[in-house]
Amino acid sequence: MGVRTWIGSWPVYRQLTGRDPLGRGAAAKSARSQRLTSRTSTADKAVKSVCPYCAVGCAQNVYVEGGKVTQIEGDPDSPVSRGRLCPKGSASLQLTTGQARKYQVLYRRPHGTDWEPLALDTAMDMIADRVIAARRTGWQWEDDGVRTRRTLGFASLGGATLDNEENYLIKKLFTALGAVQIENQARV
């Protein structure tokens, strides 16, 4: 490093000689922050998405680097949101990658006092057995002499945070199983 470069890297020198006399911008920038780049510029790809909170439907760009989501920003192309996100939408990186998310199936046995881990396959198998049993227990071919062909043995609640395709499968499967107590937040 030459003397000139060395002096030029000194903030006070830059402040006195450059265009930042108050030392609030370029003059104060350290070598480290000079080298910093935004996660959006180094991302492997930006995936087009939609904010998962309210129903305005703000468009998001989801930035992925090394197989991980590293940043989520508003998509300026959207005629709905023009690139803006509200505090919730801006926090959706924390929603999707934060510490609070669980990645393990948990099981609480009848009368149990705590959670136990459970394998996903086992859980799916156990749930399927329980659906079949509850469906049969609550089955009604008729009610008051009129054909109903249904079960009141199990119910489901949820859907307003899900995708249309997910709701479609839930309604299709549970209706075929004879369930009628299928509900979501739109009622609440």
Binding site: G57, V80, T96, T148, A160, D163, R187, V188
Partner: protein, 855 residues
């Protein structure tokens, strides 16, 4: 709107910058009020009186858009002689069965014809419609059966039984003085609102109303929105740019989950779920539930195509396309009846998909007691929400009402995949489907709900494969062969979208619902979404930048139906097909090309000219005349008066909330007579109202709401450190006067009590809550955000602990927005003392299981 839909609110600010006036009507002062030209605080639960007052002003001052009203609404229709209004019967309509707590709506129909509703309770006329159609066949009659033909009209709007005159009489007493007495809105402020709304409506100008659950969550909620519909139709503000009644919905896909419903009373595309009737068949169902005229005349095609999407090859003409495979309803099976079914042991298992009823549903204690009586519970969410952990740390464990070791419920917690980890579409609040693409695979055991539901179905079908039980046929015959991809065997979401959008007999994608057939040659999972996969292209994934499009931006995403952005936009042109004004042009009739054209896609048969008059035998869309813009309606008109579809009256009428400190100032009838009153179980007691003794124990009105930084029951925000820091504690908003009256200290604690439960909250003393003068006395209102619960980074009591289970009879939605309560200083008692405090309040107010249940 600025508070809960901030990014959508940018367009309101754009309009304001161009000179639009913004009025905010809300009991509290919010970020929206701060930016409005006028903030109008009103008593929670009094909006029908307020809007009805504007309707009265419009009629009395003759401010309505006469040409629009005569041509496009049912104002000229003549009603039956036996119809009686609330003005005649002191607050109830003709047809009330007091024993059965229900209306027979027959007398609300037009003279001489019977119309079916486009939505709502379409089953209420089932038996009569079937009987009528059967009689018609038996007589081989030449005359029109009931339900056909055109209603009698008086275009001078002077016939004493025409809708217009009935409307005038109905609202005649909704005067500025009455609005002031009922809503607590001073007459000069109310007059200012009337002036702003009427000055900004007509040929050259339009006014929009935006609302959210502040209107829906009442025992008379549907009628709140109906009042706005009456007003907007009178002013000519429907189907036109800058007009409308805009529902600001609160979840990414809450519109989608109504269109493709996970709701008990609907099939995809608002086809009603069948109710149980003797000898029901596909034909009888369609005869009873579908309109003869307009696009609901195609219900058979939509339903047969749906049954083909559900049951594929198994659905044939011989077996009624598996119509009998559909389970039948008997009354309401809403989420609140389900809670009762859990408590009484009928419902044994429960799935929760991204929903947190232990915080977010009304009467959260009832929700938890229901779950504590289940055999099993499956919770699919990101984090350990309250609905997953109530058995070890819920409020009833603290009070000693439940003991963990005694609870037999088996609980499965399955981590869910985030929107970044799956493909799929959300339908936003303007009916716009937008596709989100998968960015990464979900980690660990996290899976999409698509994965969970598909594989659950696959496993159940494998387990039942050998069954010969008739009960299992529907699930074994189900078309359930979706392609999967990747290491996790994730179902292909686009394949599901393609099924929803529809195919012809050769499997080619359909492009419009007009192609659907009732002979089994087409399949379509949701008729209003038909065409979202037109040409084999995912139309919801279209992202042509807004800047490269006109203001309608029709190439961003895909809006149902048929990518139309403004519904009923035929009404933007006059009866001759010309825009009402150049300034408000949207679609118009192009005589040279003999078709409708314009900035938006016309919401009308494209080649039906304005002067088309259908022949008498025409059905469905062909029966719409060239001046029938409301293409889903059985008469093609906007309904000022609803002759069918509503359970609680053809005209919106002010009733007091279930629990109210006031008597109804307009009628002797206090509450909506047919509101749904769920049993007054010990944890669901109702309160005395108005001048009834004990009412003074709950002198204030609480209303719940959201904050910008949190989302509904908090499952997606209370676990996020940034958001938890921005809104770190449950609080209640009170005025300085109420704070003085009840010795509440700013930043201190307050306890809020109803007949159901008790909660505590930090006190925010603020001028944002304005005391109102209602019926000559001061009313204080208490604002309660409802995001909190005991889990997460930021914790607090849930406002929904306070809410009862008296519901709107049309939608079965709870009354969260207007609750009489008491407030006192300090924290709530802990342990059994909390339960004792609520019991003491009930004793003081003389509450029994009969209180508040009277009709």
């Amino acid at each position: 709107m600025a508070e809960c839909h901030p990014v959508g609110f940018q367009w309101v600010m754009e309009a304001k910058a161009r000179g639009a006036k913004l009025v905010h009507v809300d009991p509290r002062f919010t970020r929206t009020s701060a930016l409005a030209d006028l903030h109008v605080p009103l008593r929670a639960g009094s909006d029908i009186a307020f809007l009805g007052g504007i309707v009265n002003h419009v009629l009395r001052e003759e401010k309505y858009f006469r040409d629009y009203v005569v041509a496009y609404t049912n104002a000229p229709m003549i009603l039956r002689e036996d119809f009686r209004d609330t003005e005649d019967l002191d607050g109830v309509f003709s047809g009330l069965d007091r024993e059965g707590r229900a209306y027979d709506p027959t007398s609300w129909q037009y003279e001489g014809v019977e119309v079916q509703a486009a939505s709502g309770e379409r089953d209420q006329q089932y038996e009569r419609r079937i009987a009528e159609s059967g009689r018609g066949e038996a007589h081989g009659s030449g005359g029109a059966a009931i339900g056909e033909g055109e209603p009698e009209r008086d275009e001078t709007l002077t016939h004493p039984r025409c809708v217009f005159q009935v409307l005038k009489r109905h609202y005649a007493r909704y005067t500025p003085q009455m609005v002031e007495r009922t809503c607590g809105v001073p007459q000069d402020v109310f007059q200012q609102v009337c002036q702003l709304v009427t000055e900004n409506s007509g040929r050259d100008r339009t006014t929009a109303f935006a609302y959210a659950v502040g209107w829906t969550q009442h025992t008379i909620g549907v009628q709140y929105i109906r009042t706005a519909a009456v007003l907007q139709l009178l002013l000519g503000n429907i189907g036109r740019p800058g007009g409308g009644i805009l529902a600001l919905r609160g979840h990414a896909s809450i519109q989608g989950s109504t269109d493709i419903p996970t709701l008990f009373n609907l099939l995809p595309g608002y086809i009603p779920m069948p109710h149980a009737h003797q000898h029901e068949s596909l034909d009888k169902f369609v005869e009873a539930e579908a309109a003869h005229k307009g696009y609901w005349g195609g219900m058979r095609s939509y339903l047969v195509s749906l049954l083909k999407a559900y049951w594929g090859e198994a659905a044939t003409a011989e077996n009624d396309y598996c119509f009998d495979y559909l389970p039948r309803l008997t009354g309401s099976h809403s989420t609140y009846e389900t809670v009762l079914a859990q408590q009484n042991g009928v419902c044994r298992g429960y799935f929760l998909y991204g929903e947190n009823p232990a915080v977010g549903s009304a009467n959260t204690k009832m929700q938890r007691l229901g779950m504590a009586n289940l055999d099993w519970l499956v919770v699919r969410d990101f984090s350990l929400i309250e609905s997953a952990t109530w058995w070890k740390d819920g409020p009833e464990i603290e009070t000693g009402e439940l003991r963990t070791e005694d609870i037999a419920t088996e609980v499965f917690f399955l981590p869910a995949a985030a929107h970044t980890e799956k493909d799929g579409s959300f339908t936003n609040t303007q009916r716009l489907l937008q596709w989100h693409h998968q960015a990464v695979e979900p980690a660990g055991d996290a899976r999409s709900d698509l994965w969970f539901t598909f594989h659950l179905g696959r496993i159940i079908r494998e387990k039942l494969a050998a069954s010969t039980d008739e009960m299992d046929r529907p699930v074994l015959d189900l078309a359930w062969d979706y392609p999967t991809k990747g290491a996790l065997a994730e179902p292909d979401a686009e394949a599901v979208l393609a099924e929803v959008s529809g195919r012809d007999a050769d499997g080619r994608p359909l492009s419009a619902y007009t192609q659907l057939k009732d002979d089994g040659s087409t399949s379509c999972g949701c008729w209003i979404y038909c065409g979202v996969y037109a040409d084999g292209v995912n139309q919801a994934a279209r992202r042509k930048p807004g800047e490269q499009q006109n203001w309608v931006a029709g190439e961003w995403g895909w809006a149902w139906p048929a990518n139309r952005r403004i519904l009923y936009n035929r009404a933007s042109a006059d009866p001759e097909g010309r825009p009402w004004s150049e300034r408000k042009a949207l679609v118009w009739w192009d005589a040279d090309q003999s078709r409708w054209t314009g900035h938006d896609i016309p919401d009308f048969p494209a080649t039906t000219p304005p002067d088309y008059r259908p022949p008498a035998e025409a059905k469905a869309a062909e029966a719409l005349s060239g001046t029938d813009p409301f293409v889903m309606q059985a008469d093609g008109k906007g309904w000022l008066f609803a002759p069918a579809g509503l359970t609680d009256g053809p005209l919106p009428t002010h009733y007091e909330p279930q629990d109210s400190p006031f008597d109804n100032p307009l009628y002797r009838q206090q509450r909506n007579p047919v509101r749904q009153v769920l049993p007054a179980l010990p944890d669901n007691r109702y309160q005395p109202s108005g001048s009834a003794p004990g009412s003074e124990v709950f002198p204030y009105v609480a209303t719940t709401y959201r904050l910008t930084e949190h989302h509904t029951a908090g499952g997606m925000t209370r676990w996020q450190p940034y958001l938890a820091e921005l809104q770190p504690a449950m609080f209640c908003e009170v005025s300085p006067l109420l704070a003085a009256e009840r010795s509440l200290e700013h930043l201190g604690w307050a306890t809020v009590v109803t007949a159901r439960n008790v909660i505590e909250a930090r006190v925010l003393v603020t001028d944002r809550m304005v005391p109102l003068i209602v019926q000559g006395r001061t009313l204080h209102q208490v604002g309660l955000p409802y995001h909190w619960g005991p889990n997460g980074y930021t914790t607090g009591d849930a406002a929904n602990e306070l809410v009862h289970l008296s519901l709107d009879p049309n939608t079965h939605i709870q009354e969260t927005k207007a609750l009489a309560c008491d407030i006192r200083p300090g924290r709530r008692p802990r342990g059994p003392a909390a339960v004792e405090l609520v019991r003491e309040y009930r004793r003081r107010a003389g509450i029994t299981d009969q209180t508040g249940t009277e009709i």
